[in-house]
């Protein structure tokens, strides 16, 4: 419950504050958000499976974000940033879908 509240508060704060995104992190923010979403879905699934561990969640969340940003950064340096970020989004999207399917089975039993 506190976690859900945290998400809601974060969205509201982001909408209210509307901070200027620094130009340095601007290309990485969307990818980082998608990676974090993937981590959140994975955590939700693990919780439903009864194997949730907060340490693992924290590490996976942060490492997902960092790795995603790193891949985009590397792609930018190599000149294939657009393609690499597309690939990252595709992979993360597939994982989000499979996690969502598992969650759905738990919640709706279907």
């Amino acid at each position: 419950m506190i976690a859900v509240l945290g998400l809601v508060v974060g969205v509201v704060a982001g909408l209210l504050v509307r901070p200027e995104v620094p130009a340095v992190v601007e290309p990485y923010l969307p990818i980082a958000v998608v990676a974090a979403l993937d981590a959140v879905f994975g955590g939700l699934r693990a919780m439903l499976d009864g194997i949730f561990d907060d340490k693992v969640f924290v590490v996976s969340f942060l490492s997902n974000v960092v790795v995603a940003a790193l891949i985009v950064f590397l792609g930018d340096k190599l000149g294939v940033g657009a393609q690499l970020s597309t690939g990252v989004v595709v992979v993360l999207g597939i994982r989000i879908f499979s996690n969502a399917a598992a969650i759905r089975r738990h919640v709706f039993r279907a």
């Binding site: 976690a3 969205v11 509307r18 901070p19 601007e26 693990a46 499976d49 693992v56 598992a102």
Partner: protein, 298 residues
């Protein structure tokens, strides 16, 4: 996360679990699946699922979800997760907000994207420029052709006026002469009037009317008792001719020895000829549409 937990430590069970759910088969080895029938309120009879007593301390995913949501507990894991989710929500909202700003749509774009967009804009500009030139050329062509059409119309109208003067369908004015033939004795006959017309035409008369009757190409003169008929209109003396043409040519042509004036005076008629700077020939004649003859010019 799921991969961190499933694929790192429980890869086997994960695959197994997915498989079992995908096939909707109750496998004895799958713990999750085994406990499902206990949760179904009314298992369908003959579904082939054995009700298995739930092991102590094991909950379904749904129960865990409900338990995690309510009541809210201020535990360390909850706080940490809340913090991370706060970060996620914040980033999400910021990204969505900055993405929906139209003016900053290009701000987050990469350099190569910007170059590509610039190239596209350049080529689009080029294309539109070409199109504009083509359209302008077309416009000037249309304009010149419409100018030509207006010129042709003007010339046609001019020609119509000129032909109308000849055909007697429009009034005419200009320098010329007026001639009056007084015939007190009734000796003037149609052939004398016809001679007069011929003489005037030979001298270059361009428009003629006699007592309000326009003289045109097919005009005829006929005797009608004491008077004269012109194209079927009876006219009586005095005969007044209004003639447009060069006065210096017309008057001598009538007055030459043995000419019209002398012939008429021999018949006891009185002829007076006066030059005028402005003669108005305003008698009109309806244009007759030919029944058979058609223009062969087109």
């Amino acid at each position: 996360m799921s991969d961190n937990q499933h694929s790192d430590s429980e890869h086997h069970e994960h695959a197994h679990h997915e498989h079992a759910h995908g096939e909707h088969a109750a496998r004895p080895g799958n713990q999750l699946r085994k406990e499902l029938p206990a949760e179904v309120p009314a298992p369908a009879p003959g579904a082939g699922q054995r009700p298995v007593p739930r092991p102590e301390g094991s909950l379904t995913g749904r129960q865990r979800l409900v338990k995690g949501l309510w009541p809210p507990r201020l535990t360390r894991p909850q706080l940490i997760v809340a913090l991370l989710l706060f970060g996620l929500g914040f980033g999400l909202a910021v990204q969505v907000a900055s993405n929906s700003d139209t003016d900053s749509a290009l701000r987050g774009a990469r350099q190569e994207d910007l170059v590509r967009i610039l190239d596209e804009l350049d080529s689009r500009t080029q294309r539109l420029e070409d199109e504009r030139q083509g359209l302008e050329k077309q416009r000037s062509e249309l304009q010149s052709s419409s100018d030509q059409a207006a010129e042709a119309r003007k010339q046609t109208a001019e020609k119509e006026r000129q032909l109308g003067i000849l055909a007697g369908t429009v009034a005419a004015q200009g320098p010329g002469i007026t001639m009056t033939i007084e015939d007190t004795k009734g000796t003037v006959q149609s052939d004398m009037l016809l001679d007069t017309i011929q003489e005037l035409r030979a001298a270059g008369a361009e428009a003629i009317q006699v007592n309000g009757v326009r003289v045109v190409a097919n005009t005829y003169f006929a005797d009608a008792g004491k008077s004269v008929s012109v194209d079927g209109n009876k006219i009586n003396a005095p005969y007044r001719f209004k003639v447009i043409g060069k006065p210096q040519d017309l008057e001598p042509a009538l007055n030459i020895p043995g000419g019209v004036v002398q012939t008429l005076e021999k018949e006891q008629a009185t002829v007076s000829v006066a030059q005028s700077g402005k003669v108005v020939v305003d008698a009109l004649r309806q244009a007759k549409q030919p029944d058979y003859a058609r223009s062969s010019s087109q």
